[in-house]
Symmetry: C2
Subunit: 117 residues, 2 copies
Amino acid sequence: MADPIAVNPQHYRLVFENDRVRVLEYSDGPGDNTGTHSHPDSVMVTLSSFTRRLRSGGKEVDVQLQAAQARWLDAQEHSGTNTGETPTHCIFVELKEPRPDAPAADGHGSRLGPAAS
Amino acid sequence: MADPIAVNPQHYRLVFENDRVRVLEYSDGPGDNTGTHSHPDSVMVTLSSFTRRLRSGGKEVDVQLQAAQARWLDAQEHSGTNTGETPTHCIFVELKEPRPDAPAADGHGSRLGPAAS
């Protein structure tokens, strides 16, 4: 488990944390990259529109989102690049409790990137 | 448990739901009111700045928040009024699993309104 804040301290900031959630703020600019890091099951809320390429285990996916959207993110490990012409700004609400049906919440059929809706 | 969408369908919209979370979008205008409704433990992400008065069980609290903030919300029942001069626009990430230390996640010392930080 590669913590986003440890791997990419220039992009990820801890907003707050309690027993149930950890909330991170992500910000970058066009062309910026993240090193490979892990997310638990999370909800991402976009504060800007952005375009990104995510990579994990040989797979790539391009993601384009508008501001003020909320998307589910299955637990996953990935790296990313801001491939657009605008900053990326978003909030991650990480769920700290284990997934009820899968105590080890990694790699169980996760989709790369956010869910479609 | 008074569901925010059932009580205030003009203000609350379901964004998505899965086994772990339900995500709601809230929007209103100055002077708008909500009827009394319940939230489970939630994270609120603000998409606008806003000023509100929340009421619950004879208590009142005034809340002023900037856009692009994330706040913890203890499970609570309240009603509210947009007391500012701008729309309120925010996302609620509701946690559907029971709080580990309190299977009945209502009224156990909840703070009215969002946590201070």
